[in-house]
Symmetry: C2
DNA sequence: CAAATTATAGTAAACGTTTTCTATATTTCT
DNA sequence: AGAAATATAGAAAACGTTTACTATAATTTG
């Protein structure tokens, strides 16, 4: 590999000058010299040895990205958002998945610090990092899509309240009054937020929630199926069901159809998360899409900001999602014919 | 950060000795000394400075992973397989997505070499790397899920022929003789392989392919829909349709049902790739699953092997997939009731 | 016009490792 | 027992940068 020394020799200058040019230092270098050095560097294909630079500056242009669950439907998109920003700023990411607590987060952080990462991004993490900040060796961090209950000023999370309000208000706007709710896994703090928003929105609309309209589910399809069956057995049958995510919504859809009822004519259904299942269900399911790519971008930008300016006030950042109106809610936009809806699909090409 | 010097001082030995212990050198160090050093290192939380080590050894414990399309349904799983192996061997990965040729592959490779990566893994790449091997600076590389036509000895790819034979033979075993085929996007070399395997298998079974039974599609749902319509208009109607991927299969499913025919009673359908859509379609679609995680693991192991032993004979490595029998083919195993099938689902939990 | 200032460049010391070479005990061999 | 071999440890040079310090030429100032 070609080094700074060779560039200096060929350009007829000292290595200090070359260094100043190559590292974009604000130390003054005459335009001609700079130009000449850049030309030589280009010609002989010089690129700085990061290890040497990192050794000297204690910065690495590496950002540690720690995931609790790479297999989730969200993680890859968030990561792409993160990388989109970081690569453009000359950073690489060290992405590590920490499944089943196989490695402890502390060990991974330690390893990454060994590589002198300049900062950390935690994605969908269950582990509060604030109190462990010392283990980060004073490196800045950001959390995207936080899964633990406590608040953290360096978090980028979906605006659950606004998003949940969106779906409930949509049903209200369509004239529904008897709206049931299938909640998500209690262990996730987003479950409570979504449920509470439903309750708040109903209260704000002056509607009383009927007996048996709220069922505690988990996140998966079977749970949605069973929950919907219970709801349909309520004294007063609802005309719409809000599910805390698309898996539950799809399960509910099957249950409703199993009972011989039509969706959306007899029972409207809305989900949350814009899972692929909602695009392919029959009927297609109205849902809320989370701006995951954007969240990743914002996280990366926040981190870059912290890296540049030392101190600033930070606060939890809420990113709003978007209502995707499809067929299951009975709104006119949702009544697209199958073929038309599919034509819009961006299903990934096969190998 | 604590350095080797401090460890040496506290342990009362030279830095050379500490280095030999910490880097697992095979240079002899007495057991007592080794033990003492490890104890001190543990106590004061020493971990080697990778930049310094890397500067000296010209190795970084970093592997560059270059993707053409992170958004594909396969990439994240392959990456997890890669990381599963590499992390256990003390490597981190520099994962970079190269979308829309925004960055050229050569530039990314160059940047990664700046970070002294020890090797490269190309995932789902369209770019032949063999002839550009010099740009890799003699670093070893492996390709997973290669998308270009030419063969490359350092490739880990699905055994398309065996997989495709699997589905066709399955239909033959079920008694089908009139089997039509919807091909995938011609630009992918796997398309030709899958189609040819279908032709070979039919020929081997002594069955003539009817007029209009083969339609050139692309990969998406609408294309499957249109292709199936064409097939159903053939003089001699087939009793089964093989689609080159699940998107096409799903489109075909809709088309068949649109014509008032039943799947699988009137027309059996099988797909390929085990896309999520096939688990949620009605009926669920029989397909072939690719061992993506395994492919990632094998790729990583191959690379590690190259890193250890300098030279060896390599050859393209084919990894077989598995037939997933569901409802759309009419086989008994596929006749599971909805609820039972969903219960098996591992749909990811929501946040 | 001399002095002070500025612009630009070079020198050399770090950064924290690994590793070659050298040194000293300790063991083994004849 | 003396020589040779071995086991173990330390000294010091290198790896390729950045940067504080020093040096010189060019410019500005009074």
């Amino acid at each position: 590999m070609v080094t700074i020394k060779e560039v200096a020799q060929i350009a007829g200058v000292s290595i200090a000058t070359v260094s100043r040019v190559m590292s974009n230092s604000d130390y003054p270098v005459s335009p001609q010299t700079r130009e000449a050095i850049l030309q030589v560097a280009e010609d002989i294909g010089y690129s700085p040895n990061r290890a040497a630079r990192s050794l000297r500056t204690e910065r690495s242009s590496l950002i540690g990205v720690i995931l609790d669950n790479f297999s989730s439907q969200w993680a890859p998109i968030i990561i792409r958002g993160i990388q989109d920003i970081l690569h453009n700023s000359g950073y690489f990411t060290l992405v590590v998945n920490i499944p089943w607590e196989k490695y402890s987060q502390a060990d991974v952080v330690q390893d990454m610090l060994g590589h002198s990462v300049d900062g950390f991004i935690f994605v969908e993490t269950w582990h509060p990092v604030r109190e462990r900040r010392d283990m980060l060796n004073n490196r800045p961090y950001v959390i995207v899509h936080r899964l633990f209950h406590e608040s953290d000023p360096y978090s980028i999370i979906p605006d659950e309240r606004q998003n949940s309000a969106l779906v409930v208000q949509h049903l209200l706007a369509l004239g529904h009054r008897k709206i049931a709710y299938i909640a998500g896994d209690e262990r996730y703090f987003s479950s409570a937020q979504r449920l509470n928003t439903y309750l708040d929105t109903m209260r704000a609309a002056g509607i009383e929630v009927g007996d048996g309209w709220i069922v505690q589910g988990e996140w998966q399809v079977p749970s949605g199926y069973q929950s919907a069956k219970r709801i349909l057995a309520a004294v007063q049958k609802p005309s719409a069901i809000v599910a805390a995510n698309d898996g539950l919504a799809y399960g509910a859809l099957l249950a409703v159809q199993d009972e011989g009822l039509r969706v959306p004519e007899d029972v409207a259904i809305v989900g949350y998360d814009d899972h692929e299942i909602s695009r392919f269900a029959n009927p297609t399911i109205t849902t809320v899409t989370l701006p995951l790519f954007l969240m990743g971008q914002v996280a990366a930008e926040n981190l870059l900001c912290q890296l540049q300016t030392s101190e600033r006030e930070y606060a939890e950042q809420l990113i709003p999602g978007e209502l995707i109106v499809r067929q299951s809610c009975g709104a006119p936009e949702g009544r697209a014919v199958y073929a038309r809806d599919y034509a819009r699909d961006k299903m990934d090409a096969s190998s």
